[in-house]
Structures are given as structure tokens and as C-alpha cells.
Amino acid sequence: MTQRRPILSMPVGLLFLLPAMVFVAVFLVFPSLWVLWISLTNQTLTGEAALRPRFVGLANFRALFDFENWMVRGYFGNALRNSVLFVIGSALIGQAGLGLAIAWAFYRRRGIWRELIYTLAILAWIIPDVVVAFMWVAYLDRDQGTLNAILSALGMGRVDWLIEQPLLSIIIFNTWRGAAFSMLLFSSALATLPPSYLEAAAVAGARPWQAFRDIILPSIRSHIITDLVLITLWTFNTFTPYLITAGGPTFRSEVVSIYTFRIAFQHFEFGRGAAVAVVMMLINLALALVYLSTLRREARAR
């Protein structure tokens, strides 16, 4: 690397950075620290603790990780378990798997089917949350829902999806909702591969699935890692399932983001809510660090 002369002197450079730094400080760093502080108090919306919140140390965190009723519905362990299932089911398997499958199915192909599938997937991705939630409630409703109308027309029984399979419902919903991102990322990654890669594999005698496993997957590895981490973070933090099941019935589809919302803004226990938020931040941070270190290792291996 050659040493390049900086375009601006240090003080002028800092001056240009200042507005952005102020914004980051006011709207990101400060609220985070504020949340961290609240999580160490017993602040609530009403009552005595609202006026004079007391410092309670790690009591809020201890309550979260109270293993006596940890996995009981409505408690943090249950929400964490739901979140893990939700992330694995809808992000890792659902979105990434479906996205890769679609991108691979239409690799180096054109035509009406590709346009149709891509358009539908992208539509599902860009429609506003509220509209999408309403569509899915209407689709899955027991008595008036489209899905049950189809099933009963086929002679199968009606299922009350949102009551009987709430977690599965939001997993399928979120898969449908987000597959487009992975699909677009993977199909642009595939487009960068020289056509001769697959052709050489075919001539070498590799069956399509062997070529996919040995050539395609390793070639787009860094894209896959990027995709997995991004959608894991997004799915872990998404709040849209609340609009469909509201976390219910009886907390069966309550993921961590909904749990936080319930504790902080329905029970108005700001201290405990903030503690959950801090735990969420730490989980996100851990995921992001794994992501960054993996990408750095990838970059070094090349």
C-alpha cells in the first residue's frame, strides 16, 4: 500500500465528521446508555417508582434469568425459546433456504416464470407491515379465511391456524415476507460467477447437486454469511408478528421483541423492559461480532 496524502487536514476532517457524530451521539449512543441506566432501576410509569426510581442493581436481570419459572409461558425463557425457533424456522431455513432455492432455480434463466416469481417475492417484501398483517389475518382466519375456504373446498377440515399453530403461522408468514431479500442477494451473487465454473464441473462429470455443493455454495460463501447474519438480526428484532398473533394465544407466539414491548409498554415496568432491551442488544452485538470476524477470516483466506 502506498501512503496517500489526505485530502483534508485533520481538524477540517473532524469538522466535516462533526454533524454525523452529533447525530449518532444524540440518537444512538445516548439512548443506549439511557436504557442501560434504566435497566438498573425499578422505574415504572405510575406509582412511587415513577417519581423516584431507585437503583436496584442487577435485580431486573436476575428476575429475567430466574430459572424457577423461566420456561413458563409469559416469562423470558419462553420468549427466548420462541425467538430462537422463529429465527431458525423463518430466517435460516425459511428465508435463506427459500431465497437460495428460488435464486438457484432461475440461475441463468430468463422468461415469464422468473419475472413472475421475482415480482411476487419482491411484492411480499415491499408491502407495508400493517397491510401485510391484515392480509395474513384475513388469509388464516378460521371462518372467513381464504386458506380454510380452499381447504374445505378440497374436502379437508378447517383449522384455526392462529389459535392452534400460532408460532408456525408467524414462521411461515415471516418466511414469505422476507425471502425476497435473500433471493435477490443470492441471485446477484450467482450472477457474478463465470459460466465456465458450472460448465467445467459438468464436463468433469459432476451431477448438478454435486456442482451445487462443491462449486456454487463455496463460491458464494461470503454472501451466504452476510445474508444469514443480516436476516438473523432482522428476524430477531422484528415486531410485525405482534400484528398477527399479538404474541398469543397465552404467549405461545411471544418472541423477545414482543415480550419487551409487553413488559415496557403494557405493564409499564420500564426498568425490567429496559433490562430485556439490554439483553437483546447484547445478543445482537454477539451476532454482529461473529459476522464480522467470519467475514474478516474469509477476506484473509482469499
Binding site: P194, S196, Y197, E199, A200, A201, A202, V203, A204, G205, A206, R207, Q210, D214, I215, P218, S219, R221, R302
Partner: protein, 361 residues
């Protein structure tokens, strides 16, 4: 090892006929070069043999087997691509061993065979590296090694030397020829470089605009090109073509500027082939032309346009009327620029093409 036969093979892309009714047999063990300018359909032909493109019409046979409807995996061929298509995430060992890996060979057997091929290709010390750490010439050898590791019925090469610099290319060329001769595997080699085709092939097929114009040994094609396209595509510099008119009574050819060349002993043959006054192309290779001291019945007055000393010989371009003619001379004192010279045209060496381009004599 096998003979490859193409029968009436046609490939149409939309409105473009890339390969037009091509029939060709490549003998067992033969080194066959498909030669032509870019877009002539030679690569498409190769890709159809490989199974990467499906012919619109026609059949392809490898050995006695009709492979037209078989996928590349089932054709038992090996191909070296122009960009080598080595996988950056695999070591050279893994790259070369890939054809064995997909056939589920044992690890130890793969290592043994890869090492063996790598010895032959002199890249045994590079097996732990990745393609990105190899030079162009080494990558090319690794790609050849991958093609060799599982002995195929036929080798297909798609311009494998075009990404190498001039010096490496010569080296790789003799290496490939030696290798092919010692293995005796039927080989189709696609190139746009006539020198490469001449140097490597037992036979050459010259293609243009989807059609196979001529098939023959390098010498045949060099000595008797079937038409003016082949004549001007082969040779460096290519064959000189002079537009002239046959005058039967005087037994001469008259050039555009009125100069006449006596036909001598060939007059009789031309009289049978051409009408009086018919326009034609006189074709003559640069190495057959010589400078003369003064005027003569087969001498042309010309002016020197450029002189390029090449060491062994000197390339002299002269201008006759509006046309330029190349001469390869091995003289110690070449003419100088703009000098008036006489060029002797040895009629016994000349070829005569019809106005439309096909060879008549």
C-alpha cells in the same frame, strides 16, 4: 479414445445461424483444430460436442455412441476452458482431483493420481497452492491436468493459450503437442490463431459464418486454400491477392493499372478455366515473390511502402497501383522506402481464384 463424428449439425440462436449444417469426422487419436475468426461458430461447435449446447438439428457421435441427447457428464470428455475455470476456493490438488472426487474415488487414490499427472505437467510442487497464487502458465497446466486426471475419450480445448503472453504461448504450444502425441487422445482444439492451428493440428477445419469452408492438413490448407477467405486467413502475412483480368489472345493477366503478367506455361490451363476478359484473383504467397533487377514478362513495377526486418528475413511491403503486396525476403540489403523496385511473380506458384472467391486453379 474414440472417433468423433458430426452429422449435419446446426445450431440456431434466435435469428442467428451459429453453425450451419456441419458434417465432419475427427479420427481416433487425431489432433484437430477448428480455426476461424471470432463469431464463426467454432466455439459453439466445440460446446455442442461437449454437451454444453444442444444442436438444433443433426447428430453427434463419440465413438459408436450417439451422444446428441446426453448431458456433458455422460459424454466422457474433458475440456479446457479459455479462462481455465479453476475454482478459487480449492487448492490445485483439489481442483485437479475434482473429476475423480465426483466419481467417488478414494482419497488416497485421488492423491496418487493427481500427483502422477502433476509430475507429468511439472506442477507437483504447486499442489497445495490456490489458483490465485499461480502464474498464467501454471494455471493453464493445472487446467490441463484436471482434464487429464480421468482419462477421457476426447479432449476439447477452447482457446487455451489466448490468455498467455507470447513467450509462454510458444512454450505451452509445443508442450501441448508433445502431450497429445504421447497420449494419443482424440483432440479438438478451437483457436482464432492460424499459426497455433498450423503448428498443433494434424488437420485443420477452417470456419467462417457458421460454415466449414475447408478441412485438410496444415500443408494442404496452406498450399491450396479452397477460396480467398482461407487464403487470406492462413499465413502471416497472408497470401497476396491481386485483382486482374485474363486476356486470352496475349496469354497475359492485366492488372488494374495496365501492367501485364505473362502466364507462360499456365496459359493453357487458364484458357480452359476462364473466359476471355474474365476478372479473377491471382494468389501468391509472400515467400514466393522475389525482387528482380529490371523489367521482365513476369515482373511488376512497384514502389516500396514499408520494410520490416525480422531477423531471419525481411518483410517488405510494396505498392502496385492501389494494392499492397507483401514479400518475405532473405536478402542482406533490403530495398529502401519509396524506392522503385521490380517484383518477380513466379507463375508456377500462383493460384487463381474466381471473382466470387473459389479456387479455380
Amino acid at each position: 479414445m474414440a472417433r468423433i463424428r458430426l452429422e449435419g449439425v446446426t445450431k440456431v440462436f434466435g435469428a442467428v445461424v451459429a453453425v450451419d449444417d456441419l458434417t465432419l469426422t475427427i479420427e481416433d487419436g487425431e489432433f484437430f483444430a477448428l480455426l476461424g475468426p471470432s463469431g464463426c461458430g467454432k466455439t459453439t461447435t466445440l460446446r455442442m460436442v461437449a454437451g454444453l449446447e444442444r444442436p438444433t438439428r443433426g447428430r453427434i457421435f463419440i465413438g459408436e455412441r450417439d451422444v446428441t441427447d446426453l448431458p456433458p457428464q455422460a459424454r466422457d470428455i474433458a475440456m479446457v476452458f479459455q479462462d481455465y475455470a479453476l475454482y478459487p476456493h480449492m487448492t490445485i490438488m483439489e481442483n485437479i482431483g475434482y473429476p475423480l472426487k465426483v466419481r467417488r474415488y478414494a482419497r488416497s487414490e485421488i492423491h496418487r493420481r493427481v500427483r502422477e499427472v502433476a509430475e507429468v505437467l511439472q506442477i507437483a510442487d504447486l499442489l497445495d497452492r490456490r489458483p490465485g497464487q499461480l502464474s498464467g502458465g501454471q494455471q493453464q497446466r493445472a487446467a490441463v491436468a484436471r482434464a487429464l486426471v480421468y482419462p477421457p475419450q476426447a479432449f476439447l480445448f477452447d482457446e487455451p493459450l489466448s490468455n498467455l503472453d507470447a513467450k509462454l504461448r510458444l512454450e505451452a504450444r509445443s508442450f501441448l503437442k508433445h502431450l497429445q502425441k504421447s497420449l494419443g487422445i482424440t483432440t479438438i482444439y478451437v483457436t482464432h490463431d492460424q499459426a497455433e492451428a498450423m503448428a498443433l493440428a494434424d488437420r485443420i477445419g477452417v470456419m467462417d459464418r457458421g460454415r466449414l469452408l475447408q478441412v485438410g492438413s496444415p500443408i494442404e490448407i496452406y498450399r491450396r486454400p479452397r477460396n480467398t477467405f482461407v487464403a487470406t486467413f492462413i499465413g502471416s502475412p497472408p497470401m497476396n491477392l491481386l485483382r486482374c483480368r485474363f486476356q486470352q489472345a496475349e496469354a497475359v493477366l492485366v492488372l488494374g493499372d495496365g501492367q501485364a503478367l505473362a502466364l507462360g506455361e499456365r496459359a493453357e490451363a487458364l484458357r480452359r478455366a476462364f473466359r476471355d476478359g474474365e476478372p479473377l484473383w491471382l494468389g501468391i504467397r509472400p515467400e514466393h515473390l522475389a525482387l528482380a533487377e529490371g523489367p521482365g514478362p513476369t515482373h511488376l513495377a512497384a514502389r516500396v511502402y514499408a520494410v520490416e526486418p525480422l531477423g531471419v528475413e525481411t518483410l517488405v511491403t510494396v505498392q502496385v497501383d492501389a494494392e499492397r503486396i507483401a514479400l518475405r525476403l532473405s536478402v542482406d540489403e533490403p530495398p529502401v522506402l519509396r524506392e522503385q523496385v521490380w517484383v518477380r511473380v513466379p507463375m508456377e506458384r500462383a493460384l487463381f481464384f474466381r471473382e466470387g472467391g473459389e479456387l479455380a486453379l
